[in-house]
């Protein structure tokens, strides 16, 4: 049986009229996207592909995607065994049509190249592929296909690097930006963040929250965005040993301060006692709130050791209030767990504090 595949189109600037072709990438994208029926979704996955490495886009049904080649030259391959190819260079848009289940974008040069997903009707799955991807020979329609090496982490990491570039130099360098360059330059503020003992020099829009700086600019995705309004605690980090909601503070306000995230708690590969205790006591189910819970509990134990009282402390004059279950629950009330792992979280904290569980 011969399977017919819709062709991948390489849309180069000359397809547009003179004026449009000369303007910024975002204007050109604005021109191409409606022609292809992709207007609504912008997704900023950026991929830097080194010679020998491979990337691919995995599609479902009517999904369509537009990729953009930022630098270098690449070979685009599709078909059952990658039998169809086309070449795309910096400045080209790659239109991945509907009903094309899989395609690859690979280096065709000894130089690395970079590409980005600029529009898609829904978030495409972008995968890093092993060298012998096509040689496995399994059907691309088969969802059990192992050759895509689809790991959530790989996809997430690539996606994170992408967002960093989108919010940094990428938008106005390559695709043209919503902000004119001069305005963007005026808005960006230099910030040095000291995260987990490591200095990072960044230029950030002052609106960037500490959480977004950590996740999207430094790829430290352990701190989670739950409510983004200081109500859930998933974004809890420590600043100079004190727990705060990183979603409700601006990164520029923490220039030079010592920030500890969940990534910085383990000591050289040895889990922090709280991390180990959360595992022992099964202090989570889905795990989304866990990094916030653990950072929060770290700060809470610091506060408790410093003798700080809580709302349920009976005697405020008590210089060292006992850490009862009620105290732990009150002190941890800024961290919500939708799976309701609370009893196990309390047990993990008690174990870490050296209390009988």
């Amino acid at each position: 049986m011969v399977t017919t595949y819709p062709p991948v189109r390489i849309v180069s600037p000359p397809e547009f009229d003179e004026g449009t072709a000369q303007t910024s990438g975002s204007v050109r994208l604005a021109a191409i996207a409606p022609q292809l029926g992709i207007e609504s979704t912008l997704w900023g996955g950026l991929f830097e592909v080194k010679p020998g490495a491979r990337t691919g886009i995995h599609h479902h049904g009517e999904q369509q995607t537009i990729a953009y080649v930022l630098s270098g030259i690449c070979e685009v391959r599709w078909g059952t065994r990658g039998e169809y190819t086309a070449s795309a260079k910096a400045g080209d848009f790659i239109h991945v049509p509907a009903f094309l289940p899989h395609m690859e974008i690979n280096p065709s040069d000894s130089e690395p190249f970079r590409w980005v997903v600029v529009r898609s009707t829904s978030t495409p799955i972008v995968v890093n592929l092993p060298d012998d991807a096509w040689s496995v020979g399994a059907s691309v329609h088969d969802n059990s296909d192992t050759r895509f090496q689809l790991t959530r982490r790989a996809v997430l990491e690539t996606g994170t690097a992408a967002v960093a570039l989108l919010s940094g130099g990428f938008s106005h360098a390559a695709l043209g930006a919503a902000l004119p360059d001069a305005e963007a330059a005026r808005a960006a503020a230099p910030v040095e963040l000291q995260v987990n003992g490591q200095p990072y020099a960044l230029k950030l829009d002052p609106r960037t929250t500490l959480l977004d700086a950590l996740r999207e600019h430094l790829a430290l995705t352990g701190s989670k965005k739950g409510c983004d309004h200081g109500q859930c605690g998933a974004c809890t980090v420590l600043i100079d040993g004190r727990r705060i909601n990183s979603c409700l503070t601006l990164a520029v306000m923490h220039d030079g301060q010592a920030i500890t995230t969940i990534e910085g708690l383990a000591d050289n590969g040895t889990l922090h006692p709280l991390q180990a205790a959360f595992i022992t006591h099964d202090g989570f189910q889905c795990g989304y709130c866990t990094s916030g819970q653990i950072c929060s509990a770290t700060g809470m134990l610091n506060e408790s050791r410093a003798g700080m009282p809580s709302y349920v402390t009976e005697n405020l004059a008590d210089a060292q209030p006992e850490l009862t279950d009620a105290e732990i629950r009150e002190r941890m009330s800024g961290n919500i767990c939708r799976c309701a792992a609370y009893p196990n979280i309390v047990a993990a904290i008690k174990q870490t504090a050296g209390l009988p569980t």
Binding site: R207, D228, I244, N245, M253
Partner: protein, 326 residues
Amino acid sequence: MKSFTYERADSVSRAAAALAQPGAKVIAGGTNLLDLMKLQVESPSQLVDISRLPLDKIEETPAGGLRIGATVRNSDLAADPRVRRHYGLLSRALLAGASAQLRNKATTGGNLLQRTRCYYFYDVTKPCNKREPGSGCAALGGLNRIHAILGASDQCIATHPSDMAVAMRALDAGVEAVNAAGETRAIPIADFHRLPGNTPQIETTLRAGEIITAVTLPPPPPGVQIYRKVRDRASYAFALVSVAAVVEASRGVIRSARLAFGGLAHKPWRVPQAEEGLVGRSANAETFDAAATAVLDGARGYGSNDFKIPLTRRTLHAVLAVATRT
């Protein structure tokens, strides 16, 4: 969030000068301001960061009270040994508010200036005279469970959300403010917050370009100090009703009383007649009830908050019973 320029102030006077510019706002802890900026309820064009100014000290005053710097964190103030020992009411009120993470950020000055949690103030698709003067009040005929029963107007029935301010009202605190010229002004906390009237968007008596530098507490008052907060959850929720009480009683007779209420009005609520009426009276249900009646003089419910009237009465009963127990 709308775009803004960011400036870290290196002195109070510089901060005050920057604040005098239209569209400028001070940021310290930012826990309420950034929340509102994300929703575009607030959209300052300039943020003046005062979080690193040396306003973070708690000092004893010659009069025997405390002077609390404007950027002292809520958690540090609650944990200060002098506050715990002599102003337990304030410690309790602070610890009753928000979460530990937020208290580690939120400041003394910022707490006084926080905005109401009225749902319609937060929802930019709804009319709100506080957010957009003249647009109307969606809370009047809407869900008003958390809203005011005292001192409201037909323009606004929002409440002030702070616990700390209620304690400070009972303690007769003073708010210290400085302007760009370096002039310091002391504002009694009773006069600091305003009732909504026809200008609910004006919430305090701070003048343009004035920055809060400190809150001062007079010497600790004699008597038992209690902060009782009634809310929907056991922790991490705003007050439906709260009572801050300082009561002196001996042999079953009340010698003096100060009572401030949260969750009832656009500002911490205090009724001198209710307090005076308690002096010299026996500590019994009849006395407490008379005080509650005086506090609730003019109270009015708006539908879903009608329950606050009996709840205030009962909470005051409970607090006075504990305060006068010998």
